[in-house]
Symmetry: C2
Subunit: 215 residues, 2 copies
């Protein structure tokens, strides 16, 4: 029974690692679509989002099946419930990469992001990628220290988000409303992507330490 | 054992109903803050968000405690896991009302929304309120029909969201970038609020019918 539970749980964990890697690649490609006006990259992200959704359904099915067959208790049960929370965050991260790709596609072949914003979006994408990498690592090998680093990464993202708005709202912004709105929404997509990653990280911390998720 | 499970579950259900009612009132007040530049209403929403977060933690603690003490299986277990999903959606709806209130506050005493957008935001707020009311009703008395109606409400919200962007991006938009960005972000807050409500509704459908959540 115990061995069977472990086997089932390993399958769920592997699906989560697959999801984390997929949402990392998705946001990388979405950024490429955005900054290089790369249509193929954008279409790749949209196709990938369907795969991520499918992985999510697999996690839900596997976890549901595991709960019913094994009726785990205490820490085993907590592990399964946490896996479901983490999967929901990862699924949403895939959606946000998809939103970035669709914004790039809507403006294609023009770039959705003007020269003044390339720097801040490159930095936001860098933080997003670092965070997504840590989630994949933490899921492969739960590590409260690494998960706690995510809070600092999230602060870095918040700073970049403020920097973005300072540019968008400066008196000499030359690009008009549509480009301003795209910039603001894109900024929000990266920021929310980071938030969900941090949230997933907190769930992993909870798993390791038993301390409840706060904030 | 069975009676004890029911008692515990009723406490969790009641907390969810309280959360649903609180996020409904929060978005109502946030809309008032937005359309009437009402500072007190905005501050009320922000205070209320802390209460909603606290209710969320209560749901997590109660559900965790219930899982460990009662070790429910099959449909009972599904009920508890669903409650956790629904609580996460409701918590996020509270955050979105909070974002609307903070936008209103940032612009106070000026209105954050110009005359041209009052109509569409009034309508979005109306749909949001209707949806939140249905969630509270569905939680009090699970009803797949009512939950399915949420999809139609969500379509209405999407139509309003498109209408909003048509105004924001029209050639004769006279208000500049900052007001345009506020309008776009506010639109997204209402639209995400509705999405989370629909998501919560789908979880309730799953509970009633056993059909998995899709879309």
């Amino acid at each position: 029974m115990r061995d069977e539970f472990r086997t089932d749980l390993n399958i769920v964990s592997q699906l989560l690692v697959d999801m984390a890697e997929a949402v990392r690649v998705a946001m990388r490609q979405a950024t490429r679509a955005l900054l290089a006006a790369d249509r193929q990259a954008a279409e790749g992200v949209i196709a990938r989002d369907a795969e991520i959704d499918s992985l999510y359904r697999h996690v839900e099915e596997r976890a549901g099946d595991l709960l019913v067959r094994q009726a785990p208790v205490a820490s085993d049960l907590r592990t399964v419930v946490t896996a479901l929370h983490v999967a929901a965050d990862l699924e949403r991260m895939g959606d946000l990469a998809d939103h970035v790709a669709k914004t790039a596609l809507r403006r294609h072949p023009s770039p959705a992001v003007p020269a003044e914003l390339r720097g801040v979006f490159t930095d936001m994408a860098g933080v997003a990628d670092r965070i997504a990498g840590k989630i994949a690592a933490v899921l492969s090998k739960p590590d409260a220290t690494l998960a706690a680093e995510l809070d600092r990464d999230d602060d870095a993202m918040d700073d970049l988000h403020r920097e973005l708005f300072a540019v968008l709202l400066s008196d000499d912004w030359p690009y008009g409303v549509e480009t301003g709105i795209d910039g603001a929404l894109l900024g929000r997509f990266y920021e929310r992507y980071a938030d969900h990653a941090v949230n997933a990280g907190r769930h992993v911390v909870y798993l390791v330490t038993g301390e409840p998720v706060t904030g």
